[in-house]
């Protein structure tokens, strides 16, 4: 599926504005769960998801708001979930770290690093068993490749030529820890999958057209039965690991490093190209922004006025049926 640059821009801007609104509202202490915001990383979510078909599946980890929204997840249900309301996508039982929207193929997200990788492979296994030409894309960060679950999943996906996109967003840090104590210098992330026999590609995660181009190659590869594909995208998380604030002053990274990446904002780059190519005018882009913000306002208002689940619901749905 080929998305236009404008559609990609709109997708990324939605994510950005939602995350910014969460930041604005967080101090009111009505969103009482951890939030792992993806500001700065929008192009990977939007670029990959725009290239998938609506019937393809996506899974993610703790930093999933962007993947959820880019795949078409319901905004109101996501915000209500973060507010702990019964109207939330997980009925208030999961919060930000357990988003789900089966209507658009967002099969689930869980915060144990790399845990959803084998589960995503399992959904691709099901597709192959049933002869469906569906792909599952699973998003994870640079630390996920350190887990056994990742390597085992890569191996199994290769053994069965499963239609899986392994999408790694390298934002240089695992919470406060840079790469150096975690992985040997100069080895690279995609090399791990390549060493196990997987087709891989690496790109700039802040240039949405590059994300789309690499995704198209990967998706065609997987959908044509050639097996799984590993995509590595370098990007940067603007805010703290968990929470609404900046933390460039606590010592694990520098303000200067942040500003270098801020200048490479994926939305800013896309916006510049839309204007310079004559595709959109400034006024038209402002109007898009306003429209998105209207939708976001409505979602937050609905979430704030929605009811909480009743306390007896805590004991329900332990078992199905």
């Amino acid at each position: 599926m080929t998305a236009s640059l404008l559609e990609l821009y709109r997708s990324m801007l939605l994510i950005r504005r939602v995350e910014e609104r969460i930041i604005d509202e967080y101090a009111a202490q009505e969103m009482r769960c951890p939030v792992h915001l993806c500001i700065g990383q929008e192009a990977v979510a939007s670029g990959v998801c725009a290239t998938l078909d609506p019937t393809d599946k996506v899974m993610s980890g703790h930093r999933s708001h962007g993947h959820y929204l880019a795949k078409g997840g319901d905004l109101r249900r996501m915000i209500a979930e973060i507010y702990g309301k019964r109207a939330g996508c997980s009925l208030g039982k999961g919060g930000s770290m357990h988003l789900i929207d089966l209507t658009c193929g967002f099969m689930g997200s869980a915060p144990i690093v790399a845990s959803t990788i084998p589960i995503a492979v399992g959904t691709a296994f099901a597709a192959k068993c049933r002869g469906e030409h569906r792909i599952t894309a699973v998003f994870f960060g640079d630390a996920a490749v350190e887990t056994g679950a990742f390597h085992e999943s890569v191996n199994f996906a290769l053994v069965h030529s499963l239609p899986v996109l392994f999408v790694c967003e390298d934002n240089l840090y695992s919470v406060y820890t840079p790469l150096e104590p975690r992985q040997p210098a100069g080895r690279g992330l995609a090399q791990l999958a390549a060493g196990m026999g997987m087709a891989t590609a690496k790109g700039d995660g802040n240039v949405v057209k590059d994300v789309v181009r690499l995704s198209e190659t990967a998706i065609n590869h997987a959908r044509s039965g050639q097996g799984p594909y590993f995509l590595e995208f370098t990007t940067y998380r603007w805010r703290e690991h968990c929470g609404p604030n900046f933390d460039n002053d606590i010592g694990y990274r520098t303000q200067a490093e942040f500003e270098t990446w801020q200048a490479l904002c994926p939305i800013g780059q896309c916006r510049s190209e839309l204007i310079s190519s004559g595709t959109m005018s400034e006024n038209e882009l402002v109007s898009i922004d306003r429209q998105l913000n209207d939708n976001i306002n409505a979602a937050f208002e609905a979430a704030k006025s929605a009811s909480f689940p009743a306390s007896h619901e805590a004991l329900e749905q332990v078992f199905a049926n």
Binding site: K57, G88, C89, S90, L91, G92, K93, G94, H98, I100, L102, M107, G108, A110, I112, S115, T116, I117, P118, I119, A120, V121, G122, T123, A124, F125, A126, A127, C129, R130, G148, A149, E152, S153, N155, F156, V159, E316, Q317, V318, F319, A320, N321
Partner: protein, 326 residues
């Protein structure tokens, strides 16, 4: 169906023999030694509409996949507010005998049963081995089935067709009026042997096969204790924080005033299972131990009872037909 050695010639102690030939290797699969990820793969296929069965040749091999079982599978239905189901089955075999040792002998039902969202069953009879497996497969929840290695050798009637044993229902396998003995898995067999011994002392034991560890309807046990006033629970695993303690706690809560003696537990001692048969002979409790305990509880002398188990051969095998090593 998937598991290490699932389609191989030994067929997991015969339990999967012929399945790959009949249903094809696309459906009956071997797997890499990646129990953690494969538990996730099985979960992923389950949330995507399949009904997978994963087999571990020993309970001990499942430990590396506890994250997927406990964090993910058990909670998948709940943490997404009921939006998704995880109808998977994991068969695990409890090893025993021929020097299996600490890492080929564990029986971890109480750990799984402690986790909300997991169903845990332990069939004793061949009929229940089929019936509980079918119920597990068609249950929309993750179900852990612990199958005991020594029960693969026993024979019994098995109904044809779609025979299902309901999950959650214990069964009175031997009615009696004097003492209730609840058993799990192979210990139900030892409980029945003990009941036969106790007849000579004029004690009629009621033996209940638990069959399901969680979720369990305790009422048949409570009803039995109201009748007999004495309770022994015999479990295949360790004493501390085990299933026997849970049964005793429920009886204490719901039938305290019916008890004429303190409930007792027959379990493994709190140590890893050793390897040398010189050590395991005394490690695993037997029917004679249950019978002595019953006599003590009822104030009846058991000095006349003899332990005839060793007459049947060595104690580290289920019967003389077993030649080892596996």
């Amino acid at each position: 169906m998937i598991g290490l050695g699932t389609p191989d010639p030994k067929g997991v102690f015969g339990s999967t023999v012929g399945l790959a030939d009949k249903y094809g290797t696309e459906r009956v699969l071997d797997m890499p030694v990646s129990e953690n990820a494969l538990s996730g793969v099985v979960l992923g296929s389950a949330i995507d509409g399949m009904r997978p069965v994963l087999t571990h040749q020993r309970v001990d091999f499942s430990l590396v996949s506890f994250e997927q079982i406990i964090n993910q599978a058990a909670k998948w239905h709940y943490m997404y507010g009921g939006q998704a189901t995880a109808p998977l089955v994991i068969r695990m075999i409890v090893g025993r005998g021929w020097g299996q040792g600490p890492q080929h002998s564990q029986s971890l039902q109480s750990i799984f049963a402690h986790i909300p969202g997991l169903k845990v069953v332990m069939p004793t009879t061949p009929a229940d081995a089929k019936g509980l497996l079918l119920s597990a497969i068609f249950d929309d929840n993750p179900v852990i089935i612990l199958e005991h290695r020594w029960l693969y050798n026993i024979e019994g009637p098995v109904p044809e067709g779609d025979h299902r044993t309901p999950i959650g229902v214990p069964r009175v396998v031997r009615p009696g009026k004097d003492i209730t003995i609840v058993g799990t898995s192979y210990m139900t067999i030892e409980a029945l042997r003990a009941a036969a011994m106790l007849v000579d002392l004029g004690i009629e034991a009621e033996v209940i096969d638990l069959r399901t560890i969680n979720p369990l309807d305790h009422e048949p046990i409570i009803e039995s204790v109201r009748k007999t006033s004495h309770l022994i629970v015999a479990d295949t695993s360790w004493r501390n924080c085990g299933v026997a303690g849970e049964i005793v706690a429920r009886v204490a809560e719901d039938a305290f005033h019916y008890l004429k003696s303190a409930p007792q537990r027959v379990t493994l001692p709190d140590a890893p299972v050793p390897t040398s048969h010189a050590l395991t002979d005394e490690f695993y409790p037997r029917a004679i131990d249950i019978a002595h305990l019953a006599g003590d509880m009822m104030g009846i002398s058991t000095s006349g009872l003899s332990d005839n188990s060793a007459e049947n051969g060595m104690l580290d095998v289920p019967d003389n037909s077993f030649r080892g090593p596996f």
